[in-house]
């Protein structure tokens, strides 16, 4: 479970709630555009220690098949994951 992208973007008087209360975890925009550099996981080198997952401020690294993968929609490319990885399994590549 995590907040996820919704299709409907409330944008009119009718759409919005009467009070400042709305469904939790309602995302309408991605953060992908924030990146200059992009972490790429070398699954050969990854041992699944999960330190990158633990230390990601955006929580975009998730467990997958005993190793990890990245939700690039929300990764901002800070590079903490690369720095924390003792196994050299993450490289930062220039965003194309």
């Amino acid at each position: 479970m995590k907040p996820y992208l919704r299709e409907k973007v409330p944008s009119t008087l009718k759409d919005i709630p009467d009070s400042t209360a709305y469904e939790a975890g309602y995302l309408v925009t991605k953060n992908a555009g924030w990146r200059n550099v992009c972490p790429v996981i070398d699954s050969e080198k990854c041992v699944g220690c999960l330190q990158c997952y633990l230390h990601c401020p955006d929580g975009v690294i998730y467990k997958k098949d005993g190793k990890v993968d990245i939700d690039y929609d929300f990764c901002k490319g800070c590079g903490i994951c690369k720095k924390i990885c003792k196994f050299g399994a993450i490289e930062m590549e220039v965003e194309k």
């Binding site: 907040p3 409330p10 995302l27 309408v28 401020p57 467990k63 800070c78 590079g79």
Partner: protein, 296 residues
């Protein structure tokens, strides 16, 4: 089984937020909520974490969460806890996440009130050592020497002239059931403390250092390592207060170089050798106090 990266709740409760890349505060909030889980109600005052997490219709908290007034984190927690209890709802954790200004300056009155009443709440101060949301102004938790936009470093004054307020011991002086210090450089320690706090009845306070790359002048990938270094060089410490006693959780065998730690941050780049010496001396006197008064 102790809590760690493997055993941690896989759900994400703080996601899609607009914090700066490499934000330490958001890491602290994210990890705490993963420990506390879906039965937590988060209160965040005006400040970075609320500003980046609650921009309708982009709402980034997966659990119940609310923004409080800047001064009112603790009192809103009080009301939430009482309001749920009054309706017969239990098995929840009201948790606050306030920055250093929201905690040690404008929010200290309501925090003190809540501790005094021993309300059953968890208050987490994510300390990035200045008012970062408004663009890096000095708070009472800004350390000696740091340059901020209101403590400029020039010929006459070299940054902040006052030491960091000792919130941990101020909170402990209330006789609070549980207080702890933490650092995002030591997340295992932080997770253990959050988990422990959540099982204690009454008021709990955790003070976690959470570097801000923007305000500290560090690279975005250095947030965690600089936080770790802050502990390793002895300028911050990992400790707990419980049952009227202080306990040190982590004693570095040998401190790493303070000057090295400072040099990596542009907010300290103007400091001269005398300033560094002043900082080292204040560290040493703090550790004399810790060695004398804390259970080690």
């Amino acid at each position: 089984m102790s809590i760690n990266a493997r055993t941690l709740n896989e759900d994400e409760f703080f996601y899609g937020h607009k914090a700066c890349a490499g934000c330490g505060g958001s890491l602290a909030v994210r990890i705490a909520l993963k420990v506390l889980g879906e039965r937590s109600v988060a209160v965040l005052p005006a400040g970075c974490m609320s500003a980046v997490g609650f921009n309708f219709p982009q709402l980034c908290f997966g659990n119940n969460a609310i923004i409080s007034t800047f001064a009112g984190t603790a009192s809103m927690l009080t009301g939430i806890e009482a309001g749920l209890r009054a309706q017969g709802i239990d098995n929840f954790q009201a948790v606050g996440f306030a920055g250093d200004g929201g905690t040690a300056d404008i929010g200290i009155q309501s925090l003190s009130g809540a501790i005094d009443r021993n309300d059953d709440i968890l208050y987490i101060c994510y300390d990035n050592e200045a008012y970062m949301n408004t663009g890096i102004q000095k708070s009472s938790l800004t350390p000696f020497g740091a340059k901020t936009t209101t403590t400029p470093a020039g010929k006459n004054i070299r940054g902040n002239l006052r030491p960091k307020k000792n919130m941990f011991e101020i909170v402990a002086a209330h006789g609070i059931p549980y207080a702890a210090t933490a650092s995002i450089g030591y997340l295992d320690d932080f997770m253990k403390k959050v988990e422990k706090a959540s099982k204690i009845k009454g008021t709990k306070y955790i003070h976690i250092i959470a570097p801000c790359p923007t305000g500290w002048g560090t690279a975005t990938d250095e947030t965690v390592s600089i936080a770790k270094e802050g502990v390793d060089c002895g300028l911050w410490y990992l400790a707990e207060y419980e049952n009227g006693e202080f306990k040190l959780n982590h004693k570095p065998k040998e401190f790493t170089d303070v000057a090295e730690y400072l040099k990596k941050q542009s907010r300290f780049r103007h400091l001269n050798d005398d300033d560094v010496e002043t900082i080292i001396q204040s560290r040493d006197s703090k550790w004399d106090f810790i060695n004398k008064n804390f259970n080690i």
